[in-house]
Structures are given as structure tokens and as C-alpha cells.
């Protein structure tokens, strides 16, 4: 069935789409193609790209590990202060990333809340690759929680109730019914989290700094290059756009189309 929508919505939608597409096109037109290869394969660029991919992948794994149980707690159980907990968990969505970076520094930094404890154990988190992963996880986690929680609510608890009366323990229900049912939300949530982690800038710079090969991810490298070599910055920006686009197109499908 094709349901008609008023034509003016399509016109407005086209303007909105152009608003996103045009800047990408504009940037692409500014690329110095003759030097593109050399610019994106420089040692600093490759180091930044590999670091970005590695840390974003690790952040996504952390998001899955902690985000799925968080979504389950929010969608399937009731506890006092649940609304407040949800609001706090989703806070990084609306917080400026630099504020997140300051918060992380105040907690895991050398003089931070837990920093001294880690110091005693010989672990220094701030300004290390670990700090990059923590910063990315901090900003990306809400995307996964939100996506999985929405899917859990939409799928309802009725399948799980039937599974339980058929003799399945809560663990079996989670493994054989709940997780397979929310798989689409899980995948799109993980993709969003990965994309967000890949683009992370403010919290990373504040909490992890900008050390080549250690904490200087691709967004940081782009910002740095912009100061000295605008052509290199544009070329790298295009690489980041391409990576993000590949990830989104390959895995992200809107719900209801699968």
C-alpha cells in the first residue's frame, strides 16, 4: 500500500535533505585530488584513522556489554527513581562533549575521584588510549541504551511470558527469546554508537589529549591539520565521511523494513 502524503511535505523534505547533502558536496569539491593519496596516507593520518577505528570498535563492545543490561533494567523492571536514572543515563546525549570530558577528568584524572586509587595501583587513565575509549563510551552509550530500550518496549513482554510458562528459565528466555527479538534494535544501536564514537572530539580532547598514535583520533587530527594544512584537513574529513557512510549504509536499516 502506498499512502499519499501532501506534496508540500516532499518539497520541505527536499530542502532539508539538501541542507545536509550540499555541505558534503561543497567539501568534496574542495578536495585537491592530485594530492589526495599522499595526504590521507601520511604517517600521522594513517595512525589517526587506525586509532579511531580501534577505539570506536572497543567503545562499541563496551556499549553493548553495559548498554544491553541497562536497557533491560529500564524496559523490563521497575525500581524507585527509574525516571531519574533514565534521565541521568541519557544526559551525555544533550551535554556538550567538553563537559563530559571535564566530568571524566574529575573522576579518572590524577587528582580525580577514583584517579588516586588507580594511581596507587599503577594505572594512569587520563591521557591514554584507555581514556579515548572511556570518552567515546561515555558519549555513545545513550544511543545504544535508547535504541535497545525502544525495541524492547515495542516487542512487549508477551513472548517472554509465554516462553516462561513453557518452562524456560529467565536466562534461557533472555538468550533464546529476548535478545533475538531485539536484534534489529541491537544492531542499529551498535551502529549509531560506533558512528558517534568515531566522531567523538570534545570529550576526547579534554580527557585524553592529543598524542599522535596514542590519543589523537581522526577528528582530532583533522582539527589539528586545519590550523596548518587546510587541504589535508579536507581530505581527512572526506575519509571520515566515507567511513561513517559505509558503516551506516551497510548495517543501519530503519525499523519495519526488515
Amino acid at each position: 500500500m502506498t499512502l499519499g502524503v501532501p506534496r508540500w511535505t516532499l518539497a520541505v523534505a527536499a530542502v532539508g535533505a539538501l541542507f545536509i547533502v550540499l555541505p558534503i558536496v561543497g567539501m568534496t569539491l574542495r578536495v585537491e585530488w592530485s594530492q589526495f593519496g599522499a595526504l590521507v596516507t601520511s604517517e600521522a593520518s594513517v595512525a589517526a584513522l587506525l586509532l579511531s577505528l580501534r577505539t570506536a570498535a572497543m567503545s562499541t563492545v563496551l556499549c553493548l556489554l553495559f548498554g544491553v543490561p541497562m536497557a533491560l533494567a529500564l524496559a523490563r523492571s521497575r525500581f524507585p527513581g527509574q525516571r531519574l536514572v533514565r534521565a541521568v543515563v541519557l544526559l551525555p546525549l544533550v551535554l556538550p562533549p567538553v563537559v563530559g570530558g571535564i566530568a571524566l577528568l574529575s573522576t579518572f584524572g590524577r587528582r580525580g575521584l577514583l584517579g588516586e586509587t588507580f594511581e596507587v595501583l599503577g594505572i594512569q587513565i587520563a591521557f591514554s588510549t584507555t581514556a579515548v575509549v572511556l570518552a567515546q563510551t561515555f558519549v555513545a552509550l545513550p544511543f545504544l541504551v535508547l535504541s535497545v530500550e525502544a525495541t524492547l518496549r515495542a516487542s512487549g513482554a508477551r513472548f517472554e511470558a509465554v516462553a516462561a510458562t513453557l518452562g524456560a528459565t529467565p536466562g534461557t528466555v533472555l538468550r533464546r527469546v529476548t535478545l533475538p527479538l531485539v536484534l534489529p534494535g541491537l544492531i542499529s544501536g551498535a551502529v549509531l554508537a560506533f558512528a558517534r564514537a568515531l566522531g567523538e572530539f570534545g570529550a576526547t580532547l579534554t580527557f585524553a589529549g592529543s598524542l599522535q598514535g596514542v590519543t589523537r583520533t581522526l577528528p582530532l587530527e583533522i582539527y589539528l591539520q586545519r590550523e596548518t594544512d587546510a587541504d589535508a584537513a579536507v581530505a581527512l574529513a572526506l575519509v571520515l565521511v566515507a567511513v561513517a557512510l559505509i558503516v551506516m549504509v551497510a548495517t543501519h536499516r530503519p525499523r519495519g523494513l526488515s
Binding site: A161, A164, T165, L166, A168, T169, P170, V173
Partner: protein
């Protein structure tokens, strides 16, 4: 398996006690909100009553006091998966990501049987429900009637001690109802069953006894034909209006 049930749930204004004898099918009748589905949910362990006690085959399913401190024994509440009280709901609720065979094998698998043994058992129950040819399909490819037959097979494969049927035919296409009713008639023999229904025909065809609920309490109960022949409440009188029960019991169904 004898099922003895007594429960109070103030939130839903429920205060009911009754017994299902071994091999007996008891139909729960009553208007919407009378407490039929609440009884099913409490029996299955999906809902916790304020107080009451239920036993199945001598095993305590729940034993809850209004004030636990005031009596000698502790509260008991078995979770759904430990009860073997299988629920068959209005919607078939087949797991969409599993094949029909794996759906039916879900109960035996959860009980710890091997994959091969579970599938063998699933095939037996699919044959009993006359839907063997659907075994390899996904639930999304089934008609409503087919899906509900598979749901019956899945419920029975879990070897329930008490089967809970919550309006199992309400969501079906009218044309699919008689066949489903005959299937249930065949497989419910000699089982302990609670059947929630709105249809007096279902009660007549499937239930040995009916319990009529009104506002969370039992207002009428007895053998199906006796209650329907001499209804004591307005609800039952209206429900059975036009049914002629003078002709004696129906002839046995020879073929499905």
C-alpha cells in the same frame, strides 16, 4: 493432576477459590473484567496475588499470607518456569525468529532435553495437530488458524500438568474455529485444563464444568449442561439464550 486454587488480589477485586480435578476441563465464563484472565495469570505465575494458596498435584505453586509475619510458615511463590502450567493465549505468539519445529521444540529444550530429542518430540506433536507439513516454515508465513494449531502443539510438547487456555479461538477467522475446536476436543481429553471463553459453544464442546464469574467472585458453577439448562444468573441466561439443551449430549465426533 488435581489443581486447587484460592487467591485474593485486591488490585483486580479478585477473591476466588476452586478445584480442577484430574483430567477435567473447567471453563471460566463471565463478562470482561470479571477476573477470568487474572485467574489464568495468577495460575501461570505471571501475576502475584496478595494472598492465597494453590497446589498442583500436591506441589505448592504459591502460598502467600496477607501478613506473612502473623503465621508459622514462610511465603512460597514458584516462578512460571517451575510450574509446568502452560499458557495458550488468544494470540498464538509463536517466536518469529524460530521455525515452526523449533517453536514446538522450545518446551522440551527448556526442560533440558537434547536438540535431537526435542525435535523428534516436536514432530510428533505437529503430527498430532495435523500440521506436520508446516514444520520448516517461519511463523510469519502461517495463516491464523495454522499458527494457533502450532501453538497448541507447542503448548502440549511442553508436557503441561495444567493447561491454561485464554480465549484460544477469539482471534481466529470464523472459518477456522470449528476445526480448532475439534482439535482441542481431541487433545484436551484426560488433561487438567482451565479454559477462558466467551463462547457457550466452546464450553459445551470442551468443558466438563463451568465456573461463572462476576466482579471477581464465583457466581455460579456446576456441570456445563446443568448450568446452561438451568441458569441462575442474568449473565448465564443471556449467554445461553436460544441454546436448546433438551436434545441430549451431542453425537461423538468421528472425524476431524
Amino acid at each position: 493432576m488435581t489443581f486447587e486454587f484460592a487467591a485474593v488480589l485486591r488490585r483486580r477485586a479478585l477473591d476466588v477459590s476452586f478445584t480442577v480435578r484430574p483430567g477435567e476441563t473447567v471453563a471460566l465464563l463471565g463478562s470482561n473484567g470479571a477476573g477470568k484472565s487474572t485467574i489464568v495469570e495468577v495460575s501461570a505465575g505471571l501475576l502475584r496475588p496478595d494472598s492465597g494458596r494453590a497446589t498442583l498435584d500436591g506441589q505448592v505453586l504459591f502460598d502467600l499470607a496477607a501478613d506473612a509475619a502473623g503465621r508459622g510458615r514462610p511465603d512460597v511463590f514458584l516462578p512460571p518456569h517451575a510450574r509446568r502450567t502452560v499458557l495458550l493465549a488468544q494470540e498464538p505468539l509463536l517466536f518469529p525468529h524460530l521455525s515452526v519445529r523449533d517453536n514446538v521444540a522450545f518446551g522440551p529444550r527448556s526442560a533440558g532435553q537434547s536438540r535431537a530429542a526435542s525435535r523428534l518430540l516436536a514432530d510428533e506433536w505437529l503430527a498430532a495437530a495435523e500440521v506436520s507439513e508446516l514444520a520448516d516454515r517461519r511463523p510469519g508465513m502461517l495463516s491464523g488458524g495454522q499458527a494457533q494449531r502450532v501453538a497448541v502443539a507447542r503448548a502440549l510438547a511442553a508436557s503441561p500438568r495444567l493447561l491454561l487456555l485464554d480465549e484460544p479461538m477469539t482471534a481466529l477467522d470464523v472459518a477456522a474455529v470449528p476445526a480448532q475446536r475439534q482439535l482441542l476436543h481431541r487433545v484436551l481429553l484426560d488433561r487438567s485444563v482451565i479454559l477462558v471463553t466467551h463462547d457457550p459453544l466452546d464450553a459445551l464442546a470442551l468443558a466438563d464444568r463451568v465456573i461463572v464469574l462476576g466482579d471477581g467472585r464465583i457466581v455460579e458453577e456446576g456441570p456445563t449442561r446443568a448450568v446452561f439448562a438451568h441458569p441462575q444468573t442474568d449473565f448465564t441466561r443471556a449467554l445461553t439464550f436460544g441454546l436448546d439443551l433438551s436434545a441430549g449430549p451431542p453425537a461423538p465426533i468421528s472425524s476431524v
